[in-house]
Amino acid sequence: MADKVVDARGSHCPGPMMELIRAIKAAAVGQTIALWTTEAGSKKDIPLWCQKAGQEFVGVVQMDGYEEIAVKKVK
């Protein structure tokens, strides 16, 4: 269960990634952010970003017409 949902559906690159990063920065350590996105590149780019930033990529769930990408802030 995410602590916060960032609804970036309809937003194009780099919108979803930038909105996710903004939300992660504002979150407390231990919180999980769910990004709702329709942008195809997000599910490829966000795991790579998590690796670089040292945050935990939780996973991708295919929803009805969009994807939910969850990231946990671990530091």
Binding site: S11, H12, P14, M17, M18, I21, L48, W49, A53
Partner: protein, 380 residues
């Protein structure tokens, strides 16, 4: 009662739109059937694409500035004042000087501005060329620069998305021509895992980086600058030492959007990508950098949107419909160094494919820099 068109913002979009509508409806304006009012908080227009050349002393600041009034056709009423609140229900706009302006149709063309406050230490430790004082200060810094590490670090979104690439290509050749490139390192630090948000442009930029020995640092989201230690830090935990830091901070929309309850994330105005209508309002439109549309924040976008919207507003102000739709058309020249350039041309459906840089396109861009003023007047 005259039909009233009010345009907020005297940048490229606001000027082209005002002039195009007023020129087409000059008879109706003379007869008192239509008014076209442009509200701008600056009485001077700055040709922002020219700022790229100022650090290299290739354009003088005076070449980039004209009085707004000199750029308007006579039947546009210009008000030098700032919009402080938009009230869509009463169809009114309040201004800083206390005026209340009414409208039948409103266009928000308020542009975007650098957010210099978001990154601690940036104002003290970085240079930038996205405003005139910054470009002049960078020109002074470059005139003293003898070598060392230059870091160009970007935030997103920012206007003129290819200008930072142009800057590093020009910097590379500027340094080679001065004989100091061997004593220099150039690092391009970008928030995504490539050099540009458009993949085809990123691929082209990467091939130029490889040829020129420019290093790319990916996933670098500006977090803070330490002006004493001369280090720039990313949120991802990367620290880059620098001798000269050139930053392009993320931009934000005008405060009037949020103050009027019209803003979404970043203070942008929610705008339909084809009709240019704002939210659910039938009589409010937005163009240029102010929108949240999936377009580049570039002068050409404001220009092409203005042409589409002008066609619709001319119809609406004279009792017709609004059939014209914006298709995402964008055109950007890209200086690929000091002597060659290429360009990107694209729409929502067709991604750009940069061609090989040529001298001819460089001179075309130089010519455009000089005829831009005619463009604003709706002549070109």
């Amino acid at each position: 009662m005259a039909k009233e068109l009010l345009i907020i913002g005297a940048g490229s979009g606001g000027l082209i739109l005002s002039n195009t509508v007023a020129r087409a409806l000059s008879r109706e304006i003379r007869r008192g059937e239509v008014t076209v009012t442009l509200l701008g908080d600056r009485d001077e227009y700055l040709y922002q694409p020219g700022l790229l050349y100022v650090p290299f002393d290739l354009m003088r600041p005076a070449e980039l500035i004209r009085k707004v009034k000199e750029l308007l056709v006579p039947c546009v009423t210009f008000m030098h004042d700032r919009a402080t609140r938009i009230d869509p229900e009463s169809r009114q706009v309040q201004t800083r000087s206390g005026r209340t302006l009414t409208y039948d149709y409103l266009v928000i063309a308020t542009g975007s501005e650098l957010d210099l406050e978001e990154t601690p230490g940036l104002k003290e430790g970085a240079h930038w060329f996205y405003d005139l004082p910054g470009a002049i200060r960078l020109r002074e810094a470059l005139s003293r620069f003898q070598g060392g590490r230059v870091v160009v670090a970007l935030g997103l979104p920012h206007k003129c998305p290819v200008a930072p690439l142009e800057f590093v290509f020009m910097l590379d050749e500027w340094a080679r021509e001065r004989g100091i490139r061997e004593q220099m390192e150039i690092i391009y630090a970008f928030p995504l895992n490539r050099a540009h948000n458009i993949q085809t442009c990123a691929d082209w930029a990467q091939s130029e980086f490889d040829k020129r020995g420019i290093q790319l640092e990916t996933f670098f989201n500006l977090d803070s600058v330490d002006p004493v230690r001369k280090e720039v830090n990313s949120y991802e935990g990367t620290t880059l030492a620098y001798d000269l830091l050139v930053a392009v901070p993320a931009h934000k929309g005008d405060a009037v959007h949020a103050d009027s309850g019209l803003a979404v994330q970043g203070n942008w105005v929610p705008t339909h990508r084809h009709t240019l209508k704002v939210g659910t309002y039938e009589n409010i439109f937005a163009i240029g950098d102010a929108t949240n549309m999936p377009t580049s924040k570039a002068g050409s976008v404001a220009h092409f949107e203005s042409e589409v919207l002008a066609g619709n507003l001319i119809n609406l102000l004279t009792g017709g419909g609004a059939p014209h739709q914006y298709d995402g058309k964008t055109f950007c020249f890209i200086e690929a160094g000091m002597h060659k350039a290429t360009y990107l041309s694209f729409t929502y459906d067709q991604p750009p494919v940069p061609g090989p840089p040529s001298e001819a396109i460089h001179w075309f861009k130089q010519a455009y820099n000089r005829i831009h003023w005619m463009n604003l007047k709706g002549i070109v």
